[in-house]
């Protein structure tokens, strides 16, 4: 048989039926559901007199609009409350497992799936959320879908899909100290552009990817959609299996061993063909900071805000001009001279235990700059929160002047009370710096957790590689 990619193997294993010239019907192994994009799907289902086909393969959670403090008090947001009530009712009627906001396993959907072991190699996983690409870190085929498709999966446990093209992004060599998974993926997006992955499923490979922890691989896969890719994946290996073993929904004992031996066969065969290939050298990647209004508008921390005149293409030039106007930045400004109002550490990109450990390591024994209005840490799940607290990370953050919150999407999307006020500037570990993403008129700079932590201490960006935490150096 011809050598196959990881993507092709999973695709083929899930084709229920196909006819030439038509999309294939593929089976969906896990359907993750949240309050934001599901109510209309459940209503549609009900209106058509249909039922949820596989409630046992469907997992629901409240994350997008949940408050991150005072969760035991009645909700002040009536509209959000109605949406939570709808999810609760829909899950109850259909027999779908729901992690509500009071559940000890609650958290951001893309944090709890892997954390609970719902996410496994070789599976097809969908969710009405574009950052579903996160789960590809385990060697699963995972992608975001619209609400009509959510309804389709609820009703049929299948999706009608055209096969995507395959792209390999190979990151060779070793990343320098202070350079993290977030910097790798921002550098990739900076290289291929925010539409560079459109129509493709990206497989990340190379030494620098292999050396990443599962948390790091999730950060990379999470932002595949920010390059326009349908999904991002990393072939499962010993790092994957070690992370998975013992998690609640992962098979145990002999079953686990059998699963591992199957998962090992998922890796792309030597000589398999990709439609497109991109290579980067990890040693040359510096910490990244976005300066504009999409994740592809990114610079090295040692760099400057670009001059729109330097863009060859007229359309890019106009986009850069508009971005700088929105961001209130002057061309030529040193990235490290950009002052900040707030810092947000959280989101499905960077809110896992490793992220919190790295950020805590940076702020331990120090204090956030006086000029800062708020520094917020929002753990990705209640399990992450509990683990972090057992390690004393909450105390480190709080002594340093950070607020320590309950888990949810929070200021990544600002659907709860955690909103970036208009005109303010935020260093954020999240995934999107679109206009108004964190709050109307808010200005977002995407960075890694370590970079966000150091920026909180200094009140402006610093190059984490040479920073020793002595303010005013």
């Amino acid at each position: 048989m011809a050598p196959q990619t990881l993507y092709e193997k999973i695709w083929k294993a899930h084709v229920v039926t196909e006819e030439p010239g038509k999309p294939a019907l593929i089976y969906i192994d896990r359907h993750l559901v949240h309050e934001g994009t599901s109510p209309q799907a459940f209503s549609g289902l009900k209106a058509a007199g249909r039922k949820v086909r596989r409630p046992d393969l469907t997992f629901a959670v409240m994350d997008h609009s949940v408050p991150t403090k005072d969760r035991n008090l009645p909700l002040v947001d009536d509209i959000a409350a109605a949406q939570f009530a709808a999810l609760e009712r829909n899950c109850k009627e259909a027999g779908v497992r729901l992690f509500d906001m009071h559940d000890r396993n609650q958290g951001i959907v893309h944090v709890i799936g892997p954390d609970l072991g719902v996410t496994q190699p070789g599976l097809t996983i969908v969710c009405g959320d574009s950052h579903t690409s996160t789960h590809g870190a385990f060697g699963a085929l995972a992608f975001g879908i619209g609400t009509s498709e959510v309804e389709h999966v609820l009703a049929t446990q299948c999706l009608s899909q055209f096969k995507s093209k395959a792209m390999e992004v190979r990151v060779n060599g070793r990343r320098p100290r202070g350079v993290t998974a977030k910097d790798i993926i921002l550098a990739i997006i900076g290289r291929i552009g925010i539409g560079g992955g459109t129509g493709h499923v990206i497989e990340y490979a190379g030494e620098a990817i292999r050396e990443l922890s599962m948390e790091g691989r999730m950060t990379v896969c999470n932002m595949s959609i920010e390059a326009g890719a349908r999904a991002g994946m990393v072939a499962p290996d010993e790092t994957t299996f070690a992370y998975m073993e013992g998690r609640p929904f992962v098979p145990r004992g002999k079953d686990f061993e059998a699963a591992v031996s199957a998962w090992k066969r998922l890796a792309t065969d030597p000589g398999a063909q990709f439609d497109r290939a991109v290579e980067l050298d990890a040693a040359k990647i510096a910490p990244q900071v976005t300066w504009g209004t999409n994740p592809g508008m990114v610079a090295e921390v040692t760099g400057r805000v670009p001059d729109p005149g330097s863009f060859k293409d007229a359309v890019d030039r106009e986009a850069a001009e508009r971005a700088l106007e929105y961001m209130a930045l002057e061309p030529g400004t040193l990235i490290v001279d950009i002052p900040l109002d707030r810092v947000f550490i959280g989101s499905c990109t960077n809110s896992r235990l490793e992220d919190l450990r790295l950020a805590a390591g940076v702020v331990e024994g120090k204090h956030v700059a006086k000029s800062l209005k708020q520094a917020l840490v929002v753990p990705g799940s209640r399990r992450v929160k509990a683990q972090a607290e057992s390690e004393g990370l909450d105390k480190i953050f709080q002594s340093a002047g950070f607020e320590w919150r309950d888990s949810g999407c929070s200021m990544c999307i600002g659907m709860n009370a955690d909103v970036l006020p208009s005109g303010e500037r935020c260093a954020s570990t999240s995934n999107r710096n679109f206009e108004g993403r964190q709050g109307k008129g808010g200005r977002t700079h995407l960075v890694s957790p370590m970079m966000a932590a150091a920026a909180a201490i200094e009140g402006h960006f610093v190059d984490i590689r040479g920073w020793n935490g002595q303010r005013g150096e």
Partner: protein
């Protein structure tokens, strides 16, 4: 879903690249539990001043584009979030067709589920349309899915490509779920073939 066969309508420009779905429908409107009424929320942060007063500088508020139903856009339209609220808002506002050089995957897919036709034309063709639109107030285009053509009143007649299956679904307004349920036997066979006891907890079959 309402079918799309042919539509003739006033064209409005959205002359920006990479218009993301956060701009098409900002997050504060994702807490709704119905599909209705999203027209008001379309391009909300660009379209309104405080107090929901129309921003006179925003293109869709220009009197000449009032009643537009064809949106002329730039590359990578609809990138970012998967929110289907974006096509719901476009449709509820009155847009039936979009013309752009490229679209983000999820948004493109979502359009077909809602009776909106996203037409893809080459960069230079789209640039040409932007020029024509600027020059002529009341510029109108006809988008015909049956013949796969975009035409105007002064003789412009361009073919566009669209996947034949998507075309057929949209022409007929077929219910996607209904289409899939015709394969109920195959779905059931697939389910029986692997891991029938406990798919969530049990071991997984190796990929075939």
């Amino acid at each position: 879903m309402q079918p799309f066969k042919k539509h003739r309508g006033l064209v409005a420009p959205m002359d920006r690249v990479n218009v993301d779905t956060d701009q098409i429908v900002p997050k504060q409107f994702l807490k709704a539990i119905t599909r209705e009424g999203f027209g008001r929320t379309l391009f909300y942060d660009w379209r309104y001043l405080p107090g929901e007063k129309p921003n006179p500088e925003f293109v869709l508020n220009f009197p000449r584009y009032k009643g537009a139903s064809v949106l002329l856009a730039r590359a990578n339209f609809g990138c970012g979030s998967s929110r289907e609220h974006a096509p719901w808002a476009l449709l509820d506002y009155g847009f039936r067709a979009i013309i752009a050089p490229s679209y983000a995957d999820i948004f493109y897919n979502n359009c077909f589920k809602n009776g909106i036709l996203p037409v893809t034309l080459a960069d230079d063709q789209v640039a040409d349309l932007f020029r024509r639109l600027e020059q002529k107030e009341g510029y109108t285009l006809s988008v015909d899915l049956e013949t796969q053509t975009v035409t105007d009143d002064s003789g412009l007649n361009w073919k566009f490509e669209v996947d034949p299956f998507r075309r057929e679904c949209l022409l007929n307004g077929w219910d996607d779920i209904g289409l899939t349920l015709r394969f109920e036997d195959k779905i059931a066979d697939y389910e029986k073939g692997r891991n029938p006891q406990a798919p969530v907890f049990g071991p997984l079959e190796p990929p075939r």
